[in-house]
Amino acid sequence: MTDLLEDDAPGNAPEFTVSEISGAVKRTIEGSFSHLRVRGEVGRLSRPRSGHVYLDLKDDRSVLASVIWKGVSARLATQPEEGMEVIATGRLTTFPGQSKYQLVIEDIRPAGMGALMAMLEKRKAALAAEGLFDEARKQKLPFLPEVIGVVTSPSGAVIRDILHRLRDRFPRKVLIWPVAVQGAKCAPEVAAAIRGFNAFPAGRLPRPDLLIVARGGGSLEDLWGFNEEAVVRAAAESAIPLISAVGHETDTTLIDYASDRRAPTPTAAAEMAVPVRLDLLNWVGDQGARATRAATQTVALRRQRLGDLARGLPRPEALVEAARQRLDYLGAGLDPALRALAREKRMRLEAQAARLAPALDRGVATRRVALGRAEAGLSPARLGAGVRQRREALDRLAARMSPERLADRTARDRQRFEDLSTRFARLAEQGVAQKRDRLAALERLRQTLGYTETLKRGYAVVRAGASVLTTREVAQAHARLEVEFADGRLGVMTESGPARGKRGGGKDEPEQGSLF
C-alpha cells in the first residue's frame, strides 16, 4: 500500500508522454549536434538497393550507427570501406520509432594520408594477386597508330599538351572521350570510356589503335579515381594498347600498373604514341638512297667482274689454232699415203692373181677328166646286174634253210643228253658206296687206337684242370687232380700237396693245412 501510494503520489517532476520525451530528446540532440566531425573506424557496412549506405563508426568502446544518403554517396571522393579510418562530417538525428539515434553523414573521407595509403596498398596487393599487373599481359604499342583515343577532360592543359606534342611529331586522328578526372564520377566514367573505345566500331567512329588515359597532377584524393578497381580492371582488360599518364612523374596510381605503358606526363604519353614524322621521312629517304646505291653498286661490281673475266678469256681462234695446224699437217700427208698404199696392194694382188690362174685351170681340167671317166662307167645296166647277183645269193641261202633239218638235229641232241644223264647217275651211286665203306673202316681204326679203349684195359688218365698230366713231377705241383677211368671221372687230392719250396709266398700254407 505504501509503495502504491508513493507511486501514485504526485511529485515535483513533470509528466511526459513517450512522444513528448522523444520529441524533446530529438530537439536536444539535433540542436546540440547539428554539425560535427567524428573520427572512427568503419565497422559493419551495407549498401541496399535503395542506394543509401548504412554503416557503423566505432572505436574501442562504442559504436555509432550512421547513414549516407544516396545523393551524398554519389558525390563522395572516396567510398568508405570496412576497416577504413575515417573522418565523417554530418549531424545527429534520432529515430523515435525505435529509440535510436544516428549520424547522418554529409561527407566522409579517410582520416589522413596514412589511412588512404594503407587502403591503396591493400587494394594493389589484391589486384596484383589476380595477375592484372603481370608483365605478360602488357601489349606492344603500335609503331604508328592511325587513330588515338584520349580519355581525359576535354578542357584544360592536359589534352592541349597531348595535341600539341602530337602535332609536332606526327599529326594523327584523335578522338577525345570526355570524362570527369576527379570526384565520384571519375572512376565510373573513365572505366566506361576505356570499355567504350574497346567496343568500337560503333557506326561511323573509327576504332582507335592506341588509347591514352591522362590527367594532370593533383593531390592523392584528386587522383583517387584512377586507383579505383573499376578503372584498373578496364585498363587491364583493354584490347587496345593503353598508355596511362596520370598526375606528375612522382604520382603513381593503380592504373599505371595495369596499363601497357606508363607515361610520367601527358606530353610524354604523346611522345610514346607516335614517332617523329620528319625523322621517319629522312630515314625512308636514306633507305631509298641506300637501296639505290647498293643496287647501282651491285650492277657496277658485276660489270667490273664481267670485264675482268672477259679479259681473262682467250681469243676463240687461239683455242683452235694448234689443232688446225695439226689437222693441216696430217691432212696434207693423207692423200699421198693412201695412194701409195693402194698401189702396193694392187701390185701384190696382181702377183697373186698371176700365180693363181694357171693352177686353178689345171685343177679344173684334171677333175673334169675324172668326172668324165666316172660318168662313162655309170649305167643302169651295170646297176641292174649288181642287183640280180645279190638276189640270187639270197635265194640260195633261203633254200638251204628248212624246219625239218632243224627238228632232226634237236632230236639227236636230246637222245645224247639222256644217255649222258644215265651214265652219270650210275657212276655217282658207285662213288658214294665206296666212300661210306671206307669211312666205317676208318672209324673202327680210330676207336682201336683211342685212349678210351686203353682205359677199358685198366689204365687211367690224370688231369689237372684242362691239361693232361703225364709225369709225377708235374702232378706233384697240383693239390687237386682228376682221374678218368673207363666208367667216369674222379677228383682226388694229392697226399703231400705241392712242394713247399716251389710255392711262392707262405701265406696260404696255414689255410691249406687247416683245410685238411
Binding site: L144, K173, A202, R204, A291, A295, V299
Partner: protein, 81 residues
C-alpha cells in the same frame, strides 16, 4: 619473298620493316643480279608506300558525344586546342 603482302595494304610499320630488310639485302650484295633488280623495285615501292603514309599526316581532332547514360552517340569536331 613468298609471303609478300600487297604493298598497298601494308601498314606503315610493315612497309618500313620490309624496306629495312630489302636495303639490308641489297647492301650485303650477296643476292643474284636478277634478284637484286627485283629487290630494288620492291624497295622503291615500299619507300613510296612509307612516304605516302608519312604524308597522310593530317590532324583531325573530334570529341565523342555522349547521351544521358554515358553511351557514345557520335563525335563533334574540336577546334582551337
Amino acid at each position: 619473298m613468298s609471303d609478300q603482302k600487297k604493298i598497298e595494304e601494308m601498314s606503315f610499320e610493315e612497309a618500313i620493316r620490309e624496306l629495312e630488310t630489302v636495303v639490308g639485302q641489297l647492301d650485303r650484295g650477296d643476292v643474284a643480279l636478277e634478284d637484286s633488280i627485283k629487290l630494288y623495285e620492291r624497295g622503291a615501292q615500299l619507300k613510296a608506300r612509307c612516304e605516302a603514309k608519312l604524308k597522310e599526316a593530317e590532324e583531325k581532332v573530334a570529341q565523342i558525344t555522349l547521351d544521358a547514360n554515358g553511351e557514345p552517340t557520335g563525335a563533334k569536331p574540336v577546334e582551337g586546342l
